[in-house]
Symmetry: C2
Subunit: 298 residues, 2 copies
């Protein structure tokens, strides 16, 4: 069973502190740290690691202990909104693990973080059963600075831990979600209005696909525009459907697609679904992928 965990931590300017947190994760048996990166202007770091549920739980708890000793939100500045020292902890099903496994893990870890560290925990996305507290942006609105006031409202009683912020570590948002795909489509035009109109057409917030976030940008150095997207559930809103819709909307302005790009990692199933769609492959099964057969029994 493989679960991915991608915690976001509110420290991106002191490399030695980030390295210590990475080492804390790496030291847990059964955990593989795949990547970590820091953004100084955001003053924030992201760690990516995988393992089974017990190993992931140990790594997250160890990371909390380290981050709480390293980070004080009262003096933290950065461009990115944040609520806590360990700001967000998503668990993501990868292989042999279901969304239900990740939800159960989020609740177990959340309860432990609340009781062991005295940090209030909000569940989010699939781990939250409260429709008003599924969306990360809603939970984080007001940030650390507005947290004490927000938590005074009964609507914002946390799922675990004390009913008021941890003095230096704020609160944490822990949950379960599908793998996120960062996907951009570059258009063969410099017309920013076209990119913005297409972004508006496809994103959920303005009437588009449910699992698409999108914005239009200019790529100054290339003299073209880009529709930049996050696809938050590639099973329910597949890449190919988004691509075909962008292509069709662009045609209406006489614009064609120059290329698309996947930023970072993509699950094999998301690419296989595109191959199945375009090649009209009927009755395809994941077990037909040779590499998947090789991993059976490992």
């Amino acid at each position: 069973m493989l679960i991915e965990c991608v915690p976001n931590v509110s420290e991106g300017r002191r490399p030695e502190a980030v390295a210590a947190m990475a080492e804390t994760i790496r030291a847990i048996p059964g955990v593989r740290l795949l990547d970590h990166s820091s953004d100084a202007s955001h003053n924030r770091s992201v760690f990516t690691f995988v393992g089974d549920a017990p190993a992931i739980e140990s790594a997250v708890l160890a990371l909390f202990a380290r981050a709480i000793s390293e980070i004080d939100l009262r003096t933290h500045k950065g461009e990115h909104p944040r609520l806590g020292a360990v700001d967000v902890v998503p668990f993501i099903p990868i292989e042999g693990a279901t969304m239900a496994d990740c939800v159960a893990l989020a609740k177990k870890v959340g309860a432990e973080v609340g009781s062991r560290f005295g940090v209030p925990v909000y569940l989010y996305e699939d781990a939250s059963s409260n429709p008003l507290r599924k969306n990360l942006e809603d939970i984080r609105r007001g940030e650390f600075e507005g947290l004490a006031e927000k938590m005074a409202s009964p609507e914002w009683t946390p799922d675990f831990g004390p009913a008021s912020p941890h003095p230096s570590a704020g609160a944490s948002v822990i949950g379960a979600r599908m793998p996120l795909i960062a996907y951009n489509i570059n258009l063969a035009t410099d017309r920013l209005d076209v990119a913005k109109k297409i972004a508006a057409a496809i994103r959920q917030s303005s009437g588009g696909f449910r699992y698409v976030k999108a914005a239009g940008f200019t790529l100054q150095d290339r003299g073209i525009v880009q529709v930049s997207m996050n696809l938050t559930n590639y099973e329910k809103t597949p890449i190919y459907r988004v691509f075909e819709t962008v292509k069709r909307e662009a045609e209406r302005y006489g614009v064609s697609i120059l290329e698309s790009e996947i930023v970072g990692l993509v699950p094999a199933a998301a690419l296989n679904a595109a191959a199945e769609f375009y090649l009209q492959i009927g009755g395809f099964k994941a077990e037909q992928v040779l590499e998947n057969r090789l991993r059976v029994g490992k």
Copy 2:
């Protein structure tokens, strides 16, 4: 390093003999037997297993010993052409192995089969440096019954082993090739002439793509026709190019594609190439597939 080996053995009617050969392969440490199947009318069995080069070598030599003791070509009958007890042994690069690794393995195993068992060995496909002896059908022409006469010609001196057939085990063809993809496209018509014309347009033998073998068939039970293909090098003749060509040729007859199907296994890279093509993904790297990252270091 993972190499796949898919030996074809001239026994498909005695289940106990086939099971004994499967057990011989399975018993080799480091080898995983993924599949085996037998065809009684062909009187032939195919084994599919993977491992690193030394493990694969041990398994093939053990299979030869077992097959030679079980099979006598002098009394063997079957519909499928065959030259030897262990008729064909292809080595296929899968992961962390190159075609050159597979060619080297074919030569090493070939030399050992020749000297240890007294079975003449012909190298084929990428392992053969003789352009007249690359194609399996050319090497096998005349079959076991015509082998002694064929080998008397200097053109057919084997690459390894004695210059005349093994009395009961004939000769073996050993080589290296790319994974083969069995790929069919069903057309929304019952016109067999259309399927046959399209098959002729795309297969190498009549002027089409170099790594395509194709034929047109009627699927009686469904009242439609099929272009049935073997794609013998998906890197050089990719699936999407074949699909798009079939689609375009069918349009010329007013026919559309109903669906396609992949029979058996397909390498992930072949599907990823289709996703890259249709989604116009620029700068894509295999390391961006999440599952590939998980396997690094395993």
